[in-house]
Amino acid sequence: MSTGFLTPIDAFTVIDLIFMSMLVVVGIAIVRLKDLFAVVMLSGVYSLVSAAWFVSLDAVDVAFTEAAVGAGISTVLMLGAMLLTARQAAPSKPARHWVALIVVCATGAALLYATVDMPSFGDPLSAPNAYIGLEYLKRTGAETGVPNVVSAVLASYRGYDTFGETTVILTAGLGVILILGLGGPAIKRKKPAAKTKAAKADQSKILGAHHVVLRVVSKMMIPVIIIYGAYVQFHGDFGPGGGFQAGLIIASAIILYALIYGIDAAKEAVPPSLVRLGAALGVLIYGGVGVINLLLGGNFLEYNILNPTHPAHGQELGIMFVEIGVLVTVASVMLIIFYGFTSRQPDIKDKDW
């Protein structure tokens, strides 16, 4: 099975090893650091390194998602959460949790025990590569007309799982609505602003108030980010991307706006009630496609039925609509989480940056 040390090590193996050692180093640093700001930044770095590693492993879709989730949105959300708490982790007493140590060692030992019989990396004859994985590669083109096999598996062959995952995201948003709340609609700003002292004090709370460069650059960037999100959304059939990543990108554009211009400005543009509706709507769009399939006489999520003469066109149509459902729910829930965190504190203060 394993050709081990006899074969010459190729460049990709070296790159993989470098990435893996970086992950270990960053992981240890995260555990040891007490400064929460540094921890948040390092976990972003951890995700970015993982994403790079996934690219080297040829898993570009996973890499894209990891970069968008781990390095992008979750860093922002953790920063938002951090503002509600102290900058430093509370010093914990050195305690010896022997049971925990034993459990962790046993888990690690079980995984090591399993490695002996694992197929070697990239083995074309291994079960995942030879069996259904190969089947997907063979069939996707003819059956769905979608060049990106990952999108076809995600949205059609295993579309029901993705429907469930979209619902998981909605459930997370529901949890934030119930436990943290959304903080109500935007507080309307008076028109003749910056005249009275109160209005000035109010303005100074907003990060972008006296950072002209930030304001101008972000104003230029936000439309570009949103267009890029749309590109990722609709190009998902051909390359890496899809509703999940696009939803994250569009949400981060709005979060950027909130960071620069203040949460109230963002809430005026995208009100919390709309976001709440969107989270529900996305799942309903996804499930609605399935229900339409049912009503047309097919099985749930049988997109073929959408175009009886050209089943593959039906597939494309179905995949497009369910991806829109994913986009709407993901973008809305990210904003729900952001609004949930920020509504607990007036605004992000300038000195915190």
Binding site: A110, L111, Y113, A114, V116, D117, M118, P119, S126, A127, P128, N129, A130, Y131, I132, G133, E135, Y136, R139, S156, Y157, R158, G159, Y160, D161, F163, G164, E165, T167, V168, L170, T171, A172, L174, G175, I177, L178, I179, R276, L277, A279, A280, L281, V283, L284, G287, G288, G290, V291, L294, G298, N299, F300, L301, E302, Y303, N304
Partner: protein
């Protein structure tokens, strides 16, 4: 319901419903969740949830009738034939769990309206019911699917919504938040172990369809990857089932959650996880030796007995009523695991029967406590004093269910314990019989503690004129309790419905007919 009546009922329904009943059963509540969120009015959301739960229960009955007629049925999502696509495979075992979840989901919802109106802030009521519907859909999705990864997805839906629902008890008792967090951490570890196990299974077999995994395992034989996968899956599901040393999340989650949530979880959540464990141990990994013998006898059986004894003792010392019932639940899960660990069709059938009966009795007991709490703010054992006189109907129903928990004759609890003892004797496990009896004696003590308080203690004067929102037990809350209490008696005299299903399930999983 015999097969003949079943086919009569089926012939009355439109063919479309029959064809898609399996998908509709999960998709209907799943889509009703977001709609409940949009409704944003508490009572309206409740009415909506009630209608959907009724449809869901009706659909589970349709599936029951279909399984009676055809043996097992399959639904193929997207019309992608397995193993390429995702399928639902429904046999007697699935139907048993689906009936429990859908039935208890409906009854807890009816019973829960007055307590939700009291405990949950008006603006949170609609999202609360949305989370409830998602939880219901998630649990049923786990119980119905024939795809291993699909189990994980729906386990996540049900788990995340459960953490939320538990946390909503915070307006009543702030400890709900820490309980929910504790449950979230342990539940997530459980889910992670489960998904690591699935990853290893996929690595070794290249498929996620449960039936196909079994076929591939038979062909490819044993490997270290599979053994590790099995260990991860059993431990992950063990955490979700609250298997004895992994049960620490359960008492807090059950006792600080809102009343309706406690009722629903106590009668469904661990049952579904237990079902998944049965499915994976005897269904997916049914390739024989390396998995069955040693694990069952040396690991699960001792854990089961420890749960039965230790947690019954813990229940005995609890003064908080819901904690008492929660510890009792862990002990009762021990009975089910004991049945499973026997590894025989008779044992498994008895364990599953106890699962069904336990849903009836714990559901009723939690409902009873909910009504006491609604009317008199009862939380601790001494608060029960004199309730036998002031609330005779509720107290009587509560007592009947308590007797069922002990396993007294004339109640359903007796039937499953009887079969469990028979199965243990067949297996030659005398120590298991002793454990069942010892644990039942402990149950007599902790149930008696409550019954004595209700009937033999005087009502404290302050309580007789307590000013509460509900001077009398609300009818809406009382009816489901009475239905369950009567079911606890009914299934003593005629246990053919659950027994038929559990026997068929055990026979299908372990081969050979169960007596």
């Amino acid at each position: 319901m015999s097969a003949l009546i079943a086919s009569d009922i089926l012939s009355l329904l439109p063919a479309w419903v029959l064809m898609h009943a399996a998908a509709l059963l999960v998709v209907t509540p799943l889509l009703s969740g977001p709609i409940a969120l949009i409704l944003s009015r508490g009572r309206l959301a409740w009415v909506w949830a009630l209608g959907i739960s009724a449809i869901t229960f009706a659909l589970s009955l349709v599936l029951y009738a279909q399984v009676l007629e055809h043996g097992s049925i399959m639904y193929v999502f997207g019309n992608w034939a397995p193993p390429v696509g995702i399928t639902y495979n429904i046999d007697a075992l699935n139907v048993l769990v689906l009936l429990i979840v859908a039935g208890m989901g409906l009854l807890s919802l009816i019973n829960g309206l007055p307590s939700v109106m009291q405990e949950i802030e008006p603006k949170d009521q609609a999202p609360f019911f949305a989370a409830y519907m998602l939880c219901l859909a998630g649990l049923m999705g786990v119980a119905i699917t024939g795809d291993a990864f699909n189990v994980f997805v729906f386990l996540e839906i049900s788990s995340i919504s459960t953490y939320i629902l538990v946390a909503m008890g915070a307006s009543k008792d702030r400890r709900a938040l820490t309980s929910s967090f504790n449950y979230l951490i342990l539940g997530t570890i459980g889910a992670t172990f489960f998904v690591i196990g699935l990853g290893l299974v996929y690595m070794a077999t290249g498929t996620l369809n449960m039936a196909d995994i079994t076929v591939q395992l038979r062909e490819n034989g044993d490997s270290r990857v599979i053994r590790a996968a099995f260990a991860f899956i059993v431990i992950g599901l063990g955490l979700k089932t609250a298997m004895f040393p992994l049960h620490t999340w359960l008492p807090g989650a059950y006792s600080y959650s809102p009343t309706m949530v406690g009722t629903f979880l106590a009668s469904t959540a661990t049952k579904v996880a237990f079902y998944a464990m049965v499915r994976f141990i005897f269904g997916v990994f049914s390739t024989g030796e390396p998995f069955d013998g040693a694990l069952l006898e040396l690991v699960l059986a001792p854990m089961a007995v420890a749960a039965m004894i230790i947690c019954s003792v813990q229940a005995l010392y609890q003064m908080d009523l819901r904690k008492l019932l929660a510890y009792s639940s862990v002990a009762q899960l021990g009975y089910m695991l004991l049945g499973l660990s026997m590894g025989t069709a008779a044992g498994l059938s008895a364990g599953l029967l106890h699962m069904f009966n336990h849903a009836l009795m714990k559901g009723a007991l939690f409902m009873g406590l909910g009504i006491f709490g609604l009317c008199y703010g009862v939380r601790r054992v001494p608060d029960l004093a004199g309730l036998g006189k002031t609330m005779p109907v509720t107290a009587a129903a509560f007592t009947v269910s308590g007797l069922s928990l002990i396993g007294m004759p004339l109640t359903a609890g007796f039937v499953s314990k009887y079969y469990l003892i028979i199965a243990a004797l067949e297996r030659g496990w005398w120590w298991a019989v002793a454990a069942i009896l010892a644990s039942s004696v402990l149950a007599i003590f902790y149930v008696w503690k409550m019954v004595e308080m209700m009937y033999l203690r005087e009502t404290p004067r302050a309580k007789s004129r307590a000013k509460k929102a509900h001077p009398k037990a609300p009818l809406l809350a009382l009816i489901p309790l009475l239905i369950l209490a009567m079911a606890n008696v009914w299934f003593f005299f005629d246990a053919s419905l659950p027994k038929g299903l559990t026997d068929a399930a055990a026979a299908a999983l372990l081969g050979g007919g169960a007596s």
